[in-house]
Subunit: 394 residues, 2 copies
């Protein structure tokens, strides 16, 4: 093996392989096919914007993980992953977006060659990149194999971060702070939103010192006024206006590790209704941070927040957070735990979440959030250190 | 119906609906479920970064398309799509990334309610957002329906652009030109790649005049030297160096419409091997543009390019282009036609392609590409007007 440019130590990758293999053994899985690009990168270091075609990592109980993908991307694997040349398996370009053949035919042939024709093979049934057609094709091509649902098997192993990962997230956090500082400094009536987003991107990618910024798995969302009633509107050329709140959902990213940080800016004098909501949100966040401690459950955070908001007469229907770390588009969440009433996952030291209680009302919205780390003892640590409450610029 | 902020005229949306419905009728499809965010936007105008959860558009043979998605995103549909309030159907947040329930259970119930329990329903089997689990869940929940593969049914209707769409692409092209001009101006030995990408993003999002820039469906790829042997490496903090080629795969985007434009910058004196490759590539592009005319086939473009490259001793294994237009991550291609030997799709006026003959050699790579429009007569028109050949900066 050649460490190459993979971002982490070999010991760190060994730790990850051991975790996943233990879980595979528990579930009786002989070979795991991982198409999620975040899982691929977490296991092998592979990094590239090639996930718009089928590719994946095959993990068995022995040896290195195998990279499988489009022929032209094998060079990318050689340059970014820690695995050896013999661990690379490429399919020809004629399989790409073809109406006549499917890359999974190639994968099935490879799995047979590797001796998994009658094996129990795990696939990520609920994933952006493992399509319905991919599944149906594999089923057909491997009639004697047992394809089992291994959705999020790897994602769950990512939940508790190592020291090396937390160090990356602290670098990302400095970038997040730089982004929101830039927003507050520049926001003013008349400034076009795309002009502001242009500066957000510039700050984010320049990074901080030698820590260059990577692209976020979700683009900035910066809705103003009534648009902020919708949580996922991106931007346009409209100008910021007085007497409007704009929320900024952004994340600093260091080598694919995300630390989201959302703040809301109000230009003018904050209306009473929003001030009360902002105060309740801040109080709810603080209550949530106290509940976010090892041994408590995911739902305890949600309930601590919900209790405060309810007292203020605010009802939120949505979950208030999710795990974060290494990610590729279209989501910077890990899609495992959800901070909500029905999730009783026990919190462990090293878990990291975006604690994200956005308020999307009928005619306005505000977001004030923290990315947090569960500690050995005591309340969660916030990765960033910026004032909460709506930021008012008069 | 309320035109709202949808970017196109009602006549344009009617044109689109008629095209899709005609194709549905040909295939005997009663209801089409479209999860591809590009297809959703093309039909309804819906725009938002919400595609990381299940959502879609249901199109039947009568009335408006129906938007279906997460409750918190209904406000986004209200603000961006041209459809009426009665056409919005939302599912509760407890379906989001749950291990206990799947949004497709909600969709199935809705389809039953709409009378499609025993209907022939088209689904996009090969798509990033319609997961294997989504398919299996729908199958189970709609045992009496006939789920048929409608992959790219809508995408194919998008191939020929309307005048309104081409106008958007011309705006995007001005942004593309601005981006590559900025790259050439700034590239110099010692400049960190992330610093250059920060400026690329800034130029791209500031846009040109009142035409604000939107985010690209693929982030900039800017590999240098041997990294350029891999087509999909993004960026890092390395510095540009003398005697190295860096290619820039970028796109200007106006309201989700993409015009990719790739150029290669060499800092120093161009080595003979690269000069010959650059010359062959430019000649091949020119031959391809002449072949890219209405009545010819997709393969004719590939063969015209391939003939020139072969004479120069260059063998390319990959396709050399794909259709472009409206897109969301992770791909700015439309995933229908491919410019390659086996694709005999007949070219029609109004079709738009990224003619993309990248050369990824063992120790270097160059990309020189054009986004093109098939005209009524004569060779294709290039959307951008910038010199070809490797751009040398000494």
């Amino acid at each position: 093996m050649d460490q190459g440019r993979a971002p982490f130590s070999r010991a760190e990758y060994d730790r990850r392989l051991a975790l996943v293999r233990a879980q595979m053994a528990t579930r009786g899985i002989d070979a795991l096919f991982v198409e999620d690009p975040s899982n691929m990168a977490w296991l092998t270091g592979y990094d590239g914007w090639s996930f718009y075609v089928h590719q994946g990592v095959i993990l068995t109980h022995e040896g290195e993980p195998l990279w499988w993908g489009r022929a032209m991307d094998a060079n990318g694997a050689r340059r970014t992953a820690w695995i050896d040349e013999e661990s690379l398996h490429a399919y020809p370009d004629r399989f790409v977006q073809s109406t006549e053949r499917h890359p999974m035919q190639h994968l099935a042939a490879l799995l047979k060659e590797l001796g998994f024709e009658r094996a129990r093979i795990g696939v990520e049934m609920e994933n952006y990149y493992f399509s319905a057609k991919a599944y149906v094709t594999l089923l057909k091509e491997l009639p004697d194999a047992d394809l089992v649902d291994a959705t999020a098997l790897v994602n769950w192993q990512r939940a508790v971060k190592s020291g090396e990962e937390i160090a990356f997230m602290r670098k990302a956090a400095r970038i997040s702070e730089k982004i929101v500082d830039g927003i507050f400094e520049r926001a003013e009536p008349g400034l076009a939103k795309n002009e502001l987003v242009a500066e957000i991107y510039r700050d984010a990618i320049r990074g901080v010192g030698d820590d260059w910024g990577d692209y976020p798995a979700i683009v900035p969302m910066v809705p103003s006024g009534a648009d902020a009633s919708a949580p996922h509107i991106t931007w346009n050329g409209d100008r910021l206006r007085e007497e409007q709140a704009t929320f900024f959902e952004v994340a600093g990213v260091y080598r694919r590790y995300h630390v989201p940080l959302c703040r809301t800016v109000y230009l003018g004098e904050l209306p009473e209704e929003m001030r009360l909501a902002s105060d309740a949100l801040v109080e709810g966040l603080e209550a949530g941070l106290v509940a976010a401690r090892a041994g408590n459950r995911a739902c305890d955070i949600a309930q601590a927040l919900g209790g405060v908001l309810e007292k203020a007469g605010i009802k939120r229907g949505a979950r208030c957070g999710y795990p974060i770390g290494l990610s590729y588009p279209p989501d910077w969440g890990e899609r495992t735990i959800s901070l909500r009433a029905e999730d009783d996952t026990v919190l462990e030291p090293g878990m990291t979440f975006h604690f994200m209680p956005g308020l999307w009302m009928d005619t306005w919205g505000i977001e004030i959030t923290e990315s947090i780390l569960i500690r050995e003892n005591g309340p969660a640590e916030c990765f960033c250190d910026r004032p909460r409450g709506v930021w008012v610029k008069d």
